[in-house]
């Protein structure tokens, strides 16, 4: 296990380094630059050149990359070229919205997927099982954007239970208000992800139900439910945890859409705006951090696999 952890950590560090280079170079391939955002349509070429020089954008790319990397190594993700705000501090504020949003989305997804998926597996040859599978198909097909709009129309506009959009100006100072603002976004995000996950849970449980060891367990006198509970879930969890790890990345992408529908000041809407303004120092800090989050999640999923499944720990 220790050797595995060392190897896996080494791989993580290498991936992060490669991600840093990729993020930096890919952003430099985008047409347009921040000088045009600052100077506007009226700026003459000389003025744009002066803005670029002020921002250090006329330096060689290698030099720009080195100074960014040096900052990242110190834990400093840089500053916005437009308004000087600290990338780290702003990401911190945005994650106060996107973090709970993604976490809430996962909770909703799990609450939907695990019981319903298991139920659909246990009743796979009945109307109930088919019905659940059909619903899951609908859930996968329905765009998050549309689902968000419908939720708002029903629960905010018609019933007036929850806010239609936005996040409290003072953030989590009033936790009740902040949580209320995130209920519909979490449901919109979680239902779509939950539908995807449900299908994996169902097929994983169906697979386990037909496994030899479960039949043996049944033979010892356990009911199907008890056998599944004692000997099945741990096995069924393996593919589900993998998918959940992959889905977390999808969740971040979904957050971009949900944040727009609900006008939430989160990481997604910030990224879209910053790319549009070509505030590249800010974008590369943000993207790098997100990539790091996804890579670390992958790392944790792999480690979790080993912990759940002792067979993986055996040397081959």
């Amino acid at each position: 296990m220790t050797w595995y952890l060392v190897r896996r950590t080494g791989l993580l560090v290498l991936s992060l380094a490669a991600a840093g280079v990729l993020v930096f170079t890919l952003l430099r391939l985008l047409p347009g630059d921040v000088a045009a955002t600052i100077g506007g349509l009226r700026a003459e070429p000389e003025r744009l050149a002066a803005i670029r020089a002020d921002l250090g954008l006329d330096r060689p790319l290698v030099e720009q990359y080195a100074s960014w990397l040096a900052g990242v190594a110190r834990g400093d993700l840089g500053r916005s070229q437009l308004n000087g705000s600290s990338v780290g501090a702003e990401l911190g504020r945005k994650l106060q919205v996107t973090g709970p949003l993604a976490a809430g989305g996962v909770v909703v997804a799990l609450v939907v997927a695990v019981p319903l998926g298991t139920w659909a597996a246990l009743r796979s040859r009945t109307a109930v099982g088919t019905g659940i599978s059909a619903l899951a198909q609908v859930g996968v097909a329905v765009p998050t954007l549309w689902l968000g709009l419908v939720l708002v129309l029903v629960f905010s506009v018609r019933l007036g239970w929850l806010p239609a959009q936005g996040f409290p100006v003072d953030g989590w100072a009033d936790p009740g208000a902040a949580a209320r603002a995130l209920v519909l976004p979490c449901v919109a995000l979680g239902l779509t992800e939950g539908a995807v996950l449900l299908r994996f849970v169902r097929s994983a449980v169906v697979g386990v139900l037909h496994a030899d060891h479960l039949r043996t367990a049944r033979a010892t006198g356990l009911t199907r439910g008890r056998a599944l509970w004692r000997h099945g879930f741990r096995n069924a969890a393996l593919p589900v945890v993998s998918v959940l790890g992959l889905q977390l990345a999808a969740l971040l992408v979904g957050a971009v859409v949900v944040e727009r529908v609900f006008a939430l000041p989160g990481v997604g809407s910030m990224l879209v705006a910053d790319v549009g303004n070509r505030d590249l120092v800010k974008v590369q800090g943000e993207v790098f951090l997100l990539v790091a989050v996804v890579l670390v999640i992958g790392f944790l999923v792999d480690v979790a696999h080993r912990l759940i499944d002792p067979r993986l720990r055996e040397p081959r």
Binding site: L30, P31, G32, D33, A36, T37, I38, G39, G40, L41, R42, A43, E44, A50, I51, L82, N83, G84, S85, E90, R93, K94, T130, S133, A134, L135, Q137, V138, A141, V142, W146, L149, V150, V152, L153, S156, V157, G160, P163, A164, Q165, G166, F167, V169, R260, V261, F262, A263, P265, G266, S269, M270, A273, G276, N277, R278, D279
Partner: protein, 514 residues
């Protein structure tokens, strides 16, 4: 089994869609109020109210001096910062006094004397003096100035302060645009010695509101300035909510999260026609301009450009976006030199074909339009079908705005381009030699220069009318429509700006009933 399961899924999805997708089909915005109710007396107002206003574009910075973007003007100009003069968009763009209570011009038009109001103070408590005005204007006229509007003041020779309440501006040559330019953000007065890079953190203006906070990505809060010299604002606080999505903005307004929705989508106004809201319609300076690359064949031939102008039915375009005014030139009706030029090269597909044949394209033409993806896709659809009638095959290429900026605006790599020229009074673009249109006409340049140094406003207006007519006759571009802006106001909210709301948004009259 799997295949069967898909059928109910598709059916449910279709049923859900018909139930909830029906909000985007209305084009008629319904009844639009002709005016606002008069603001009731103060004892019936909630003077401690917070007014919530939906806006679309968030500023990228709060450095009003050095960062471009109408979003900065919208929130900061007149509210937080003031110039010597201002403009009242709801009164036909009349220039009105602000920090200067009066001004006079010498008979030769080379010297302007401004008398400052008394009692003006910056938000940090420092009294405003003529020295601050001199310093601020010198930041614009200094060589290599970082001011976005610095070029507006190149006629200024010197700015002096003979006494603390008087400012004298001396010009190298007459400039009939000076007062207008002073009323824009280039004329804003900052405290002497302001470090513009610090404006993002701490605003220090003289206006009726102070900047209370910027929650990036969401809101900007302005608070009433208790020490304001003039009439105090009637609300304690105004929060600008930046909500780009039109549906989210509609929902915010319907559920009372916002009191005022600026720039409402004209095709989504139906929920506001049932009472409880007023819909106001105002003009803008947003000229949706179809530019031809006149440096590239076949658009160097005026006949080809005119053919395209004739092929487009501007009423179809307006129908597709929901609202708009036909202008027929680069001048909106609120400018003093406006003239109705919609009759020049009016819609005439047959005439367009004839012009094309004369230009050597009897079998039609295939052209590509580059358009930023922020504009309604429906405009492109209308153009494709309109041009097809005249034998022109149009390909619409949607690009991100920054791509448009570098590919079309900077590199001039395009055939047709569509963009909203939102700046007020920007006829000057047709006189710039290297501008992306590639339009060059010596006579137009001469008239424009003559207008700027004209002896009277009447002479100026006459010359600018000639400019507008000439560029229209030459088909220097096509002007699809002038945008109209719709503001949805909750019942019990008064004094809301109506016209040109994305350029400046004076909140001094905004009031909320008890």
């Amino acid at each position: 089994m799997r295949r069967l399961a898909r059928i109910p899924a598709a059916l449910i999805a279709a049923a859900l869609c018909t139930a909830a997708c029906g909000t985007g089909d209305a084009v008629d915005p319904g009844p639009v109020a002709s005016g606002q109710e008069a603001t009731p007396p103060d004892d019936r107002l909630d003077l401690d109210a917070t007014a919530n206003v939906r806006a679309v574009l968030e500023p990228t910075s709060l450095n009003l001096f050095g960062t471009a973007g109408a979003a900065l003007d919208q929130v900061l100009l007149d509210n937080v910062y003031e110039g010597l003069l201002s403009v009242d968009p709801d009164d036909g763009d009349r220039i009105v006094p602000r920090l200067a209570e009066s001004h006079t011009a010498s008979p030769d038009g080379l010297t302007y004397t401004f008398r400052l109001v008394s009692g003006a103070r910056f938000h940090d408590g420092t009294p405003l003096t003529a020295a601050d005005v001199v310093w601020s204007l010198e930041q614009q006229t200094a060589p290599g100035s970082k001011g976005v509007y610095a070029a507006d003041f190149d006629a200024i020779a010197s700015v002096t302060a003979p006494d603390p309440a008087t400012v004298v501006v001396s010009l190298r040559q007459r400039d009939t645009f000076l007062l207008w330019n002073l009323a824009q953000r280039g004329g804003v007065v900052y405290r002497r010695g302001t470090d513009f890079a610090s404006l993002d953190g701490a605003a220090n203006g003289t206006g009726p509101f102070t900047l209370a906070g910027w929650n990036r990505g969401a809101t900007i809060t302005l608070r009433r300035n208790p020490d304001y010299r003039g009439a105090r604002p009637k609300v304690a606080q105004v929060v600008f909510h930046y909500i780009p999505d039109p549906n989210a903005a509609d929902n915010a307004q319907r559920t009372g999260q916002t009191d005022v929705q600026t720039a409402a989508d004209p095709t989504l106004l139906r929920p506001f026609t049932g009472g409880g809201f007023t819909v106001l319609r105002g003009t803008t300076t947003d000229k949706y301009t179809l530019a031809f690359n006149a440096t590239r064949a076949p658009f160097d031939d005026p006949d080809v450009r005119r053919a395209i102008r004739r092929a487009i039915d501007k009423r179809d375009v307006v129908g597709a976006v929901g609202a708009g005014t036909l202008i027929g030139s680069a001048v909106p009706p609120q400018d003093p030199w406006y003239e109705d030029l919609t009759g020049i090269d009016a819609h005439d597909p047959g005439g367009a074909r004839e012009l094309l044949a004369r230009a050597g394209f009897p079998d039609g033409l295939a052209v590509t339009l580059t358009v930023p993806s922020i504009y309604p896709r429906s405009i492109g659809d209308v153009l494709v079908s309109n041009l097809k009638e005249a034998g022109i095959t149009l390909t619409v290429r949607q690009v991100e705005f920054q791509t448009w900026l570098s590919r079309v605006y900077r590199d001039k790599d395009f055939e047709l381009s569509l963009v909203d020229h939102a700046e007020p009074r920007d006829l000057v673009n047709f006189t710039k030699p290297g501008y992306y249109f590639g339009y060059a006409d010596e006579q137009v340049r001469e008239w424009f220069a003559g207008a700027r140094s004209a002896a009277s406003d009447a002479e100026r207006d006459g010359l600018l009318k000639k400019v507008a007519r000439r560029i229209t006759e030459d088909a220097a571009a096509d002007w699809l429509f002038l945008n109209q802006t719709h503001t949805v106001v909750r019942e019990g909210v008064y004094g809301v700006p109506v016209a040109q709301t994305s350029n400046r948004y004076d909140l001094s009259a905004l009031a909320v009933a008890r």
